[in-house]
Amino acid sequence: MKKYFLVIISTFILISCEREIDINLNKSNPRLVIEGNLSNLAGECSVKITKTVNFSEIIPNPTVSGAFVTIISLNTNKTDTLKETAPGMYTNDSLFGIPGQTYTMVVKTNNETYIASSTIPQMVDLESIQLLDSNSSGGSHGGPMGGGSGSNTIVRMIPKYTDPANIVNFFQFVVTRNDTLQKDIFIQSDFGFNGLVSNRPLRVKANKKDIVKVDMQCIDEAVYNYFFGLNENINQSSATPSNPVSNISNNALGYFKAHTSSVKTIIIK
């Protein structure tokens, strides 16, 4: 019987190399980007309008001035107008929403109308913030803009709240550190702990003696899904990259978020 033997000596030059390349990306028509916020607290109502730019252009992208922006309460039919207080930034300091009610944002610009509706869920209070630990080996929450400045430790903290058992709840935690709004997107749904006290921590970049403010916002499902998709888009982590699904009509990007607000502040030890 014949036998076959094979000897292979192979020298793999296992160098992976990374370099900048030119990709001919299509020019895209500018699309409107709307970031609308309405809180149950006065002074938080704002709508920011910008336009997308081509890949090779610079950020920040241009603002859109001269739009007509209103917010209508579907329960009372009352219409409030927002004023442009900075280029592309429309606000109304006396306007606030009521939990359980639905609001519609209407933006008119360039002969186009963009409409979005959002419901403020029932109020859930942020009871306290429990500091767990801090370690410097936290993963980067990078995305296109990188992981922020300086050497930061990751602090784990649990926002303590009691989830209402009767409904499905969605939450967003907006974190401010020493008066600087943090870019990280923290969202939670009550899937798996409906009706219980939350014990899921946030991983916040902070150092000792920092003052960290956590604004717990109850949001509706569409807004939750938007921020879930936005997070995937920024981290390039989805299997199929796409624009986060917006609750705004007429092919606009962005969101209209009507939410509750419950704030607690801690000093990192």
Binding site: T52, N61, P144, I234
Partner: protein, 313 residues
């Protein structure tokens, strides 16, 4: 047949899990026949024509993602929700031999209709435990023409092959319900293989391949939202990875044959001209100008030399 014993799910129209099935009896049966028909018409010794039809079903499914940052694929079996993929293909081919069978030439064209095609929904999470919640289903089509010229005799042998093809999917909920290229859609595919006997013992070979890059999704623009740079996407798989090509060379020496032992030594070099074929492409902030964004390409091995010694006894 989808056997029981593990978890199967019932989903609503929004892909939320509304029920879980866990039974030991079979969950679902799929029965498909695979008819095949093939006809050959032989004009003479050198010319022939071939027509065929076949239906194939596939019960193991490859799900490609559309990103360039981690080219991972997933294989899944049929479930109560994922149905067998069915393909119907027709093809027509013409075959001709020249110069006393020294050369062979063929041209074949095909068209394939596919049912129960699978792709991820927009913004899918491929790490999701219940993959069915991330999938959408539709149809597919593939068509193309293949040309092949082969030399079988003489000191120089080898072939030149060229394929022009298109593979597309149409799935409601993806790419505004329009047809779009499948990830593995390759417009051009060329391969040239040549072997030359320098002497009785020494033989050299060369292979050159060229392929259009995979269809992938790249951003077409960007904007800032919630203080972060966000990508603007337009079409699913609307872009291409850079073209793939490389040349490999080989040299084989046959040692003198002995009664119970003969052996040969081969040297080869993969990717002779060190083409940096793209493995990953990601988009990041430029280090020199943070307001700009750049595309970064990662390629794996460039040159791979190897030596092998084959022996028989």
């Amino acid at each position: 047949m989808v056997l029981g014993g593990s978890n199967y799910y019932i989903l609503d129209n929004f892909k939320n899990i509304i029920d879980t099935i866990n039974q030991t009896s079979p969950v679902k049966n799929y029965i498909n026949i695979e008819p095949r028909l093939s006809m050959n018409y032989i004009f003479d010794n050198n010319n022939s024509l071939k027509i065929s039809y076949s239906r194939n079903t596939q019960n193991l499914h490859l799900i490609n993602n559309s990103v360039t940052t981690s080219p991972t694929d997933k294989w899944v079996m049929n479930t109560n929700i994922i149905k067998p993929e069915i393909g119907d293909q027709v093809s027509l081919g013409y075959f001709r031999n020249f110069k006393d069978n020294t050369f062979e030439f063929s041209v074949e064209t095909y068209y394939k209709w596919m049912q129960n095609q699978i792709d991820y929904k927009d913004a899918a999470d491929e790490r999701n435990r219940v993959i069915e919640t991330q999938l959408l289903y539709g149809k597919g089509r593939a068509y193309g023409v293949e040309l092949l010229l082969k030399k079988n005799k003489g000191k120089l042998t080898g072939w030149i092959g060229y394929t022009l093809s298109r593979t597309e999917k149409q799935i409601d909920g993806v790419n505004k319900d329009q047809w779009y290229p499948a990830r593995q859609d390759r417009t051009h595919d060329i391969s040239i293989v040549a072997m030359y006997d320098i002497s009785k013992r020494l033989n050299v070979s060369a292979i050159w391949v060229y392929q259009t890059g995979n269809a992938v999704t790249f951003p077409s623009g960007k904007y800032e939202i919630a203080g972060q740079t966000t990508w603007l996407y337009t079409d699913r798989n609307g872009y291409r990875m850079p073209d793939y090509h490389r040349l490999d060379l080989g040299l084989t020496y046959k040692f003198k044959e002995k009664k119970h032992f003969n052996s040969e030594l081969s040297f080869s070099l993969y990717n002779v001209y060190g083409r940096e074929n793209a493995y990953l492409i990601s988009f990041e902030q430029s280090s020199s100008d943070p307001s700009k964004t750049v595309a970064m390409q990662t390629s794996l091995f460039r040159w791979v030399p190897s030596i092998s010694w084959n022996f028989k006894f």
